[in-house]
Amino acid sequence: MDNVIGVINLVNEKQYLKELTSHRCLSAVPFGGRYRLIDFTMSNFVHADITKVAVFTKEKYRSIMDHLGSGKEWDLDRRNGGLFILPPTHPDELIKGDLQQFHDHIEFFNRSPEDTVVISPGHHVCKMDFQEIVDHHKDSCADITVVYKDFDGESVDKPIYHKYSIQNDGRVKNIELYTSPEQGDSVGLETFVIKKDLLIEIIKTCCENGEYDFLKDGVKANLHHLKVNSYHYKGYFPFIHSISSYYKSNMEFLNPELAQTFFYDTWDIYTKIKHEAPVKYSITSKVTNSLVANGCDIEGTVENSIIFRGVKIRKGAVVKNSIIMQKGEIHEGTYLENVITDKQVNITSEQVVIGDSIPRIVKKADVV
């Protein structure tokens, strides 16, 4: 879609994932054996032929920058358009809201000839067809289109979701900010389609009035004099808002049917290429019901687990119901169950590490 800018908005990210987000932003959290959360949105943009993508980062964005690089893997290293990483311009100040940061980079919008903007967060695991959503937006002559989904996630103990009241004709009647949704509630996915000129107008007007929140001050406050329409997203979408829901949604991909439809039957998910060799299974390896990524060297036992790139599981080690992130090494005779190990963790030999219904997290580069 030549006329569309993709915006990945990390400004509103919360650090739901505790230790996993202590040194990286939410969108940079590893997921599904070889991805980072942001890969899904990036790949959805690639699929929709949106070749100009701006990532508005907030804090701890270094790993996102390392991961995205020049955008090569998403074919976004382009002179025309391509990938723009737009960090906060005043790192020391408290950021007041996404509109403030859009305002700091208003020139990006002003200079772009495209007429439509798709705004999405960077941590959604889903395959959203932005082409279809933009078509829906244009066909309905909406000023703004919001994307929502019927809530079907694990119950939320903090009021972090926004509930939409949708009229029969699809128009948004009301937005209730910061709620704990019930099953079936129409929950906003922080994804919007908007005309670029209108977005610029909202950015300017709101910031002049000291209002800095796009959803609250730009959308909700304008519900009556703008045509705010909705798109009902019905595809796969895990609500990730806690370690527990993060763990479960990873584990869901051990369902081969979900893995098949999500990874293979639709478009590709692109991620950073690392040129690892295929997984090496030794004569003693025993792997069942698991996802394994390249560069791994497996001599031990792996059950119901997700093994990221470059992990070594030594002879006699047992990994059960666990997530082992990239470059982890699990030594001889060690037993892990219900554990999430962050990157580059080293579990020495003959250890026993067991989590409970909420998995135990071993922090990045820890040696246990």
Binding site: R34, I273, P278, V279, Y281, I283, K286
Partner: protein, 389 residues
């Protein structure tokens, strides 16, 4: 525009007829290897790691797959502003196109391409060997020896020596004689098909050889003997390490099996010398609850429900339930049904193997079974057991 110290010319024109059905519709260097790579990835990655950033790939047969695969050269870091990788099919003169008449003629036809970079040295490589080699050490040796041409050699067992082109050398490793597959070997130093030349010298010999009506236009048969006969300074560079010609079904299969040793003859996962491959984006592999995988290499994109022993699965291979694969190589995008048995076989890309098929033999004396291109072999769906070969 600056000139280049050295560039590489990669002979990728081999039709690979000894690989049979594996090369139908595919040049030999494009044959998949190691679950993830194509043969050409090995010399290309070696070039990158050796600091060579300009590689001409001389193609002949079926260049489209290679063209698309090599693309802009990015996976091998060969997407350079000046230089990089170029696929060079035979040149179309005003009188229409001509095939490359031999390896030397292929380079001869691209003299203009090479001169564009004005290199001091030209490295000539083959596209059908699996090895990890730092060519910059060979260059260093070449310079130190003040050689005009250097041939990389590897010691082979005396018993096999007569299958190779052999170098007889003096104590300084200066080459005194070159024998192509002699019945009675005087040396066990076999040519690896890796030649380094002073470009000025090579150019002169290419031009002369082109005019020689009796020449077969081949590096091994014509150029090297002529250089040697003229008393030029020709040295053997001894390479130590893994090197394997994968020009036959048996050697291709054998090279794959070498990857599966406990301490593999050849390590694909050396972090300091990664082998690059195109099309490297696939989902993680899914290993089901019924699967059993031992002593194998399995690439991303695979879905495995069966038993895999001492085998290699390339990307996007699906293996059904109760299927047993042993001592075999499965190339990309192969779908294998349930209750299949595969032994000592190579299954080419894009094949679909129906349920209950039995492929290959467990007899140690049997040849390697090759199941060729999808277009050539069709499996009729059947509830009966179907036996192939």
């Amino acid at each position: 525009m600056k000139s280049k110290k050295w560039i590489a010319m990669l002979l990728a024109g081999g039709q690979g007829s000894r690989l049979g059905e594996l090369t139908t519709g595919l040049a030999k260097p494009a044959v998949p290897f190691g679950g993830k790579y194509r043969i050409i990835d090995f010399p290309l990655s070696n070039c990158t790691h050796s600091g060579i950033d300009t590689v001409g790939v001389l193609t002949q047969y079926q260049p489209l797959v290679l063209n698309h695969y090599v693309g802009n050269g990015r996976p091998w870091d060969l997407d350079r502003n000046f230089g990089g990788v170029s696929v060079l099919p035979p040149y179309q003169g005003k009188d229409g196109g001509e095939w490359y008449a031999g390896t030397a003629n292929a380079v001869y036809q691209n003299i203009q391409y090479i001169d564009h970079y004005d290199p001091e040295y030209v490295l000539v490589l083959s596209g059908d060997h699996i090895y990890k080699m730092d060519y910059s050490r060979m260059l260093k040796y070449h310079v130190e020896k003040k050689a005009q041409a250097t041939i990389a050699v590897i010691e082979v067992p005396w018993s096999e020596a007569s299958r190779f082109g052999l170098m007889n050398t003096d104590e300084e490793d200066k080459i005194s004689e070159f024998e192509e597959k002699p019945a009675k070997p005087k040396s066990n130093l076999a040519s690896m098909g890796v030649y380094l030349f002073d470009w000025k010298l090579l150019k002169q010999y290419l031009i002369e050889d082109e005019l020689d009506a009796f020449s077969t236009k081949d590096f091994g048969k014509d150029i090297i003997p002529k250089i040697l006969g003229d008393g030029k300074s020709l040295y053997a560079y001894r390479f130590e390490g893994y090197w394997k010609d994968v020009g036959t079904v048996e050697s291709l299969w054998g090279a794959h099996m070498d990857l599966l040793d406990d301490v593999p003859g050849f390590d694909l996962n050396d972090p300091h010398w990664k082998f690059y491959a195109g099309n490297a984006n696939h989902a993680p592999q899914y290993i089901s609850a019924e699967a059993n995988i031992t002593q194998s290499l399995v690439n991303e994109g695979c879905i495995v429900h069966g038993t895999i022993n001492h085998s290699i699965l390339s990307y996007n291979v699906h293996v059904g339930k109760n299927t047993i694969i042993k001592d075999s190589v499965i190339m990309p995008n192969v779908k294998i049904g349930n209750n299949v048995t595969i032994n000592n076989a190579i299954i080419a890309s894009d094949i679909c193997i129906e349920d209950y098929a039995e492929i290959g033999s467990t007899s140690p004396a049997a040849e390697i079974t090759v199941i060729g291109d999808a277009e050539n072999i069709s499996y009729v769906a059947t509830n009966e057991k179907s036996r192939i070969k």
